[in-house]
């Protein structure tokens, strides 16, 4: 055990000493289970997926390398471009709404409230429950004949006939976005609340003494201090919204006339249901540039946060 004690000294030497070597060896043994799982079931499939995008593999038949054929086919495929458009629309609108409403809810929960812990616990429920199961509840809420929303609106005299929530292009898009926002608000609200709670009240008091209105305090105190955590939360939110699959699969399966097909659902439809693994993989590969952009954004968000906290960029 003396070797470990000396490890701290050995580490500073420029060459790799036997102590450091042994220390590395133990560390690598500790890393082994996680590394093995991730390399076999994450890194390798990621590479395999990219490779599959360049083949004509089908279910039950190993594919041949076909170059860019899949991508050329997708380039001329109006359904693919529609799915790209839908994904961007879905992500943009849902993320903006999630941020606005989630931020508002976080500000409300940051107030001095009775039963604060209880409210916070309840608010997180939509996020805890399996998406597919809550989506099934939304399916019933959006029923063409027996929708509770239609019933209430008819009762109030706002509309005459039940709304066709999932059968009409614009309605279907709005409906799936609403369901996604419903599920995403708690995550944004609770994480932003955690950020809000770290802001010292004395800053608001100082701003108020200097004559800042509530709106100005929000704009010039809360927002700047919260920017780093907003960047990270929204990156996660954008990432998960962009790759969403479950909600669409339950509510519309991409319909009506592909108006709500996202890239992920189209990839599943072509790759698994249709058996064209190569084409499905090519659609998944086409998502990667968007994801990389989001990840880079997140990476720089993290860097900035350390710097703002007075830490060093490790």
């Amino acid at each position: 055990m003396t070797t470990d004690t000396l490890g701290g000294v050995a580490r500073r030497r420029p060459w790799i000493s036997p102590h450091a070597l042994r220390r590395n060896l133990v560390a690598w043994i500790f890393m082994l289970p996680a590394a093995a799982l991730l390399v076999v079931f994450l890194t390798y499939p990621l590479g395999l997926g990219v490779w599959l995008g360049f083949t004509d593999a089908r279910i039950g038949r190993p594919g041949m390398y076909v170059g860019l054929e899949n991508f050329e086919m997708l380039w001329d495929d109006s359904v693919f471009w529609l799915s790209v458009f839908n994904t961007v629309l879905y992500t943009t609108v849902a993320s903006l709404l999630k941020f606005a409403l989630g931020f508002w809810l976080a500000l409300l929960l940051n107030e001095h409230l009775p039963f604060k812990a209880f409210f916070r616990a309840i608010v997180l429920l939509p996020w805890v429950v399996p998406t597919v199961l809550s989506a099934i509840a939304f399916w019933w809420i959006y029923d063409a004949q027996f929708s509770i929303i239609s019933w209430v609106l008819i009762k109030w005299g706002w509309i005459d006939a039940p709304i066709n929530f999932l059968g009409d292009v614009a309605n279907a898009r709005a409906s799936v976005i609403a369901a996604n926002v419903w599920r995403g608000i708690p995550f944004v609200a609770i994480t932003l609340l955690a950020g809000l709670q770290t802001i010292s009240p004395s800053l608001y008091e100082a701003a108020a003494l200097d004559g800042a209105t509530a709106m100005q305090r929000l704009r010039y105190v809360t927002l700047p201090l919260l920017t780093p955590i907003i960047a990270i939360v929204m990156t996660f939110s954008v990432l998960f919204t962009f790759t969403d699959f479950q909600l669409i699969y339950v509510l519309t399966r991409g319909g009506p006339v592909n108006a709500t097909h996202l890239m992920a659902t189209l990839s599943f439809q072509r790759g698994i249901s249709g058996g064209q693994l190569g084409e499905g993989a090519a659609i998944a590969v086409a998502m990667i540039p968007f994801l990389l952009a989001a990840i880079l954004f997140s990476y720089f968000g993290l860097q900035r946060r350390r710097w703002q906290q007075g830490g060093t960029d490790r």
């Binding site: 055990m1 470990d4 580490r11 450091a20 220390r23 133990v26 560390a27 690598w28 890393m31 996680a34 799982l37 079931f41 994450l42 499939p45 395999l48 997926g49 593999a57 409403l101 409300l108 107030e111 409230l113 409210f119 616990a121 309840i122 608010v123 997180l124 399996p130 597919v132 199961l133 099934i136 509840a137 004949q145 027996f146 509770i148 019933w151 419903w182 708690p186 995550f187 609770i190 994480t191 950020g195 009240p201 008091e205 939360v233 998960f240 790759t243 699959f245 699969y249 992920a264 990839s267 599943f268 698994i272 693994l277 499905g280 998944a284 590969v285 994801l291 990840i295 997140s298 490790r314």
Partner: protein, 297 residues
């Protein structure tokens, strides 16, 4: 000092500048929006629950029965679900798969997080970053190649297909979370143990793990919930009814094209949500800390 002054100070100390707002103003700016938020966020659960106990004739007859309430509650849908479908089997599968995947991921993550955070081996920083990036790889781009792998490994339509693939999103998350917890444990404790002659293994099991129990609980219940809620892998890798998980089973077996059994569907959604909701209600603080921890670290 007058008593009014003292109360104002007390209020100021406990609630920031709250004393500047009048009550009616607070009702409009805080309570009304908050109640609206809570109503919208909870309504689907109420609707799920009320439909699950509603007899079919009430469900489709809005003229005679108010849809928001149930006149003659029935357990028929739940009885049908538990006795005439494979639902109990799906519940068991989901529990087993989620527990096994969580256990496997926790073990791998504890070792990995300890090594990255405390052993400072060459390349540990890069590996830490790699783990974070792995967390950002979504299942939606992995399921096609994984399906191919699962098939060629002979795991298709078995529980092992899911137990082995769920760690792809659980291990990065748990490792990332545990790294944060290990970081908060003072270095000095380890140094004392090293001087007293403890091995790395002893330090981990006798000192670090007991201190990191809250972190382990956070990571564990969170991982369990993520596995319970997983859908796309379960949909792709499982075919036979007896191996399905709850989300896949409810969607693919209870939904028939001709007529929708809304009562049974809602009962299935409700019963399938209950385990995670119960788990959540016991460990709210751990959930919140793991959720905020994952973004804050």
């Amino acid at each position: 000092m007058s008593s009014a002054d003292t109360t104002a100070r007390a209020a100021g100390d406990s609630g920031g500048m709250r004393y500047l707002d009048s009550l009616p103003r607070r009702v409009v700016t805080v309570y009304v929006p908050l109640v609206l938020f809570v109503f919208v966020l909870l309504f689907p659960f109420y609707w799920m629950a009320i439909t699950a106990v509603k007899p079919n004739n009430e469900m489709t007859n809005f003229n005679q029965f108010n849809p928001f309430w149930v006149v003659a509650p029935t357990l028929d849908h739940i009885r049908y679900l538990l006795l005439e479908t494979s639902y109990p089997g799906w519940l068991w599968n989901t529990t087993l798969i989620a527990a096994a995947a969580t256990f496997l991921s926790l073990i791998a993550s504890v070792f990995a997080a300890y090594a990255i955070e405390r052993m400072r081996f060459s390349g540990s920083r890069q590996i830490g970053l790699g783990i974070f990036l792995a967390y950002l790889v979504p299942p939606s781009i992995l399921f096609i190649p994984l399906a191919l792998m699962v098939f060629s490994l002979g795991l298709y339509d078995t529980k092992f297909a899911l137990i082995l693939t769920y760690p792809t999103f659980l291990v990065p998350f748990c490792t990332w979370l545990l790294m944060g917890y290990f970081r908060s444990i003072p270095f000095e404790l380890e140094e004392c143990a090293l001087i007293d002659g403890a091995s790395r293994w002893q330090i981990l099991t006798r000192i670090i793990l007991p201190l990191a129990v809250p972190g382990l609980i956070s990571a564990g219940i969170f991982a369990f919930t993520l596995s319970w809620n997983e859908f796309i892998y379960a949909l792709t890798f499982i075919q036979s009814s007896e191996n399905k998980t709850v989300p896949v089973g409810v969607l693919t077996e209870l939904v028939r094209s001709d007529v929708y059994e809304w009562g049974a569907l809602m009962a299935g959604a409700l019963v399938g949500s209950l385990p995670v909701v119960i788990l959540y209600s016991f460990f709210v603080e751990y959930y919140v800390s793991s959720m905020t921890g994952a973004v804050k670290e």
